[in-house]
Amino acid sequence: MQKFIKLNSPIIPLPIENIDTDQIIPARFLKATTRDGFGENLFRDWRYDANNQPIADFVLNNPQYKGNSVLVAGENFGCGSSREHAAWALHDYGIRVVVSSFFADIFRGNALNNSVLPVQVSKSFLARIFSFVEQGQEVSVTVDLEAQTIILDHTQESESFDIDPYKKTCLINGYDDIDYLLSMKEEIKKFEVQHPLF
C-alpha cells in the first residue's frame, strides 16, 4: 500500500450530500478483474452525458480543478454498496484525501485500505470551505496525518480529525491488514481449536 504522511493540495469541491458508491463508480464499470484504470470512470454519469460528451458544469470537467488531490464532499460520503472499486477509482484518479462531515462505514474502511485518507471534519468547517468556494476563493489545504490536522492554507484555520491509531500507523508505513493478520497465525490457530462452534 502507498504511504500517506502529509499532503498539500488545492481542493475539488463537490457540495452534494449522500454521494453513494453507485455515483462514484457505476455498476457497469465493475466488470474488470484487476484494480487498475477505474479513475477514468470516476463519477462517470455526472461527468459524461449519454453520448460520452463531458458535462461542462461538473467539477471534474473544470480545468481549474485538474490535478487536485483533495476532494471535499457533502455529508455522508460513500453510502451504498461495499464496492472497493469506489476507493480504487478515487485513488486511480489521483484523489488522496476525501474531506466530508460524515462518511459511510464500509467506504471509510475501503478508503483506508487503499491509501485514500477520509478526513471527517465538523459541519461548520465543511460549510466554511464551501462558503469560500462560493465566494470564488481558490481553497487549498494541508493535511498532516502525523498531527491529525487539516489546515486551510489561506486563513490558517485548522481542525483536527480522528483516525484509528493502528490505521494511522499502517498508512504512515504503507502496511496493510493482511501483513498484520498473517503475523498472528499462531493465535488464530489456537482460537480455532477452542471455537468448535461452526
Binding site: D20, K31, E84, N113, D177, I178, L182
Partner: protein, 456 residues
Amino acid sequence: MKQTLFDKIWDKHVVAQVGNLSVLYIDKHLIHEVTSPQAFTGLEKRGIGVWDKTKIVATPDHNVPTLNQHLPINEPLSRQQVDKLKENCQKFDIELYGLLHPYQGIVHVIGPELGITQPGMTMVCGDSHTATHGAFGTIAFGIGTSQVEQVMATQCLLQAKPKRMRITINGKLKEGVLSKDIILYIISKLGTGGATGYFVEYAGDAIRSLSMEARMTICNMSIEMGAKGGLIAPDETTFEYVKGREFAPKGEDWDKALAYWKTLYSDADATFDFEVAYAATDIEPMITFGTNPGMGIKLSEKIPTASSTESPESFKKSLAYMGLAENQSLIDLPVNYVFVGSCTNSRIEDLRIFANYVKGKQKAPNITAWIVPGSKQVEKQAQEEGLDKILAAAGFALREPGCSACLAMNEDKIPAGEYCVSTSNRNFEGRQGPGARTLLVSPLTAAKVAVAGKVC
C-alpha cells in the same frame, strides 16, 4: 453482565484485541464474481493460499443473464468475470455453485436456503447486503475486496466494535403491510446515515410475528440507513426454518447447536447505545420518490416540500432526476417497468405474494415486468407450486435467477427516463441503468402496479 445479542456473538469471535480493533474470527465467507477477482490476485501476489476453503462458498450472481443461462454469456466482460470466478475456485479448490447448478443464486438467498447461514455465526461477503443473514441472529456484514482477501488469507478481519442500536416495533401490522414496508418506513424515519456506526437489533412483537423470509427483507436493508448490519434474535421460527436444510447441523450436532442458539437473545436489562420504537399500526404500504432509500413516503402521502427537509438543494436535485415535484402524490403516476427480484424480495414467499395477487388478472399492456427468482431453488419451488403457470396466465414470465435489474450489470436495464417500480433495495441515480428512475416498493405493491399500469 447483561449483554446484548450482538455482544454475545461478537465477544465469542474475538481472537485478539489490537487497541480499538478486534481481530474478529469469521465463520462463513460468501463470494461472488464481482468483488473477488482482485482478492484472489492479491493472494497469488503474496504467494499464499486460502486459510480454510471449507468456510468459503462461491456463486455467480451479479452479472448473470436471466434468460438462457444454458448458453454462453453474451456480454464479454460479464462472461470473463464469471469465468474468472470459476477459474479461481478451481485453482483454490473452493466450492462453487456455478450457472445451472441447482444451488446457484444470489449469495444472500442461497446462504439461508441451504442452511449455510446459522444463528450465532459471523458471516461476511464482499457485498453490502450481507446484513440479510442477520435475520438468523447472525453477525453478518459487507466488506470490501481488500477485506475479502484478508478473510481468505487469515479467516479474520480487523474491526472496530460498532455501537448497538435497538429498533422495536410492537403492535399488529395492518392488512397488506409487508416487511418491506416496515423497513422502508424505518429508513424514511432514520435517514440514510441514521444508523452509521451501529449494529441494529430489530425487536418487538411485530418483528417476532414475521416469517424468516420477511425478517430477511428487513435485515437486508439495514445498510440503507448506514448500519454495519442488522439482526433479529433467533426463535422457534428460526429453528424451524433452519432444521433439515442441506448444511444445517444434524442429529447430535443439531441438539448441541440448538441448545446454544437458545442462549442468543439480548438480556432483559442489556443496554443499547440508541433505542427507538415505532408502532406497527402507524405503518402503511410505502414507496420511495427520490434517489436514496430514505426518501420514502406512505403511498397515501404526498412528496414533502424541499424546505421541510434538512438539505433542500440535494432534495431538489433528487426530484429533478426523478421527474417528480414537491407536494405531488405518486398515485396514478404512469409506470412502464416492474421489477420483482433482488436479495431483498426474490424468495418464494415474495413470488407467492405477487402470484397470488395477479392470479386471474392480467398484466397491464404498457408494463414490461421482470420477475426474477433469487435462486435456482426458488425457481424450482415456484415451478413445483405452479406459480410459473399462474404468472404466465396473467401475462408474466418467470426468469432465471440472478441480481438482474437490481444493479443492471447484466442486460436487464431500465431505459433512461423510465420509472421502474422495484422490489429491490436501492433507488440511487442510474442504479437500474443510466437515467433509470426507481420507485422502491413491496412485492404486493409491485403486483398491483403491474396490473394497473400505474402507481396505485
